[in-house]
Symmetry: C2
Subunit: 172 residues, 2 copies
């Protein structure tokens, strides 16, 4: 089964992101707006039990995470993904690193650029049109994430939450 790990920002930020995703993101219906901490990886039932325990341990030792969203940005010319930029910070980066070390033997495909995707699979023409407008727009959200989620992927590509991990809490 394929799993992934993500943070959902506040409803306010999700509503803002979805107002664009609806039009520009082909994954709009598959998952709510999110910051990917660990992209899709394979695990069987036995492995996932061990991973859940490890995530509880990691969550317990991780402080709540400041999320500051400052602008629209993009991965162009690598691809035409447009995203809301989440300012990197030590806590977020350290958490990302922990999800790619220890029992997690896979390596990240890209350097960690925390972001919330709002557009993808755009043609070059669409991309320039949409991004040209968005990059002029002022964006500022500042909030705190106090949890992350382990999700699994269904056959149609949609993601279901398997478990929530609260940061720095007695729950671990």
């Amino acid at each position: 089964m394929k799993y992934g790990i993500a943070i959902f920002p506040s409803k306010r930020v999700q509503d803002f992101a979805n107002s664009y995703r609806k039009r520009y993101d082909s994954h709009y219906a598959l998952i709510p707006p999110h910051i990917t901490l660990k992209s899709a990886f394979e695990a069987d039932e036995q492995q996932i039990d061990q991973i859940v325990q490890e995530l509880q341990r990691i969550a317990a030792e991780t402080a709540v995470i400041p999320l500051t969203i400052t602008k629209f940005s993009s991965f162009y010319p690598s691809n035409t993904v447009i995203y809301l930029k989440v300012e990197p910070n030590e806590t977020l980066t350290a958490l990302h690193q922990k999800l790619y070390s220890g029992i997690f033997t896979d390596q990240p495909e890209f350097a960690f650029v925390p972001h919330i995707t709002i557009g993808r699979d755009l043609s070059d023409g669409e991309y320039f049109d949409v991004y040209g407008q968005l990059k002029m727009q002022t964006v500022h959200f500042s909030e705190t994430a106090d949890r992350f989620h382990l999700l699994y992927q269904l056959e149609d590509g949609a993601w279901t939450v398997y478990e929530t991990f609260r940061l720095g809490k007695e729950n671990a």
Copy 2:
């Protein structure tokens, strides 16, 4: 903010349900296949903290839940919803009751018929056509739910998971 409480069945059952929901359920993109335990209710941030605590308490005292899915059924003629019937059992019914008592002062709109919706908003013609085929089909899934989820609704109608509650575990 609007919240709801639901169980997600196994990936196997979700994949099966989605193969129909894709075509027949207008809510397909809004939430994964689920059994509603408590339908949409309003709560503010302060209330939700209290509700989360109560849900932890309820989850801790609730055993894992047998989910036996036996056939397609429908709410016709009340409406044209088609669903996978989940056999009622004491644990499931008791959990449902707890989510409508104590600090939860709202009352259920309908008698509790545990189900996984796979079609809705069908015209009468579509309904008879689809349900006529499905009701002949043999369905049997038997599994155990060990958790439920508290979700909140975004402005576009989609649901995001807020927190997971494991049944009968030390996590409460």
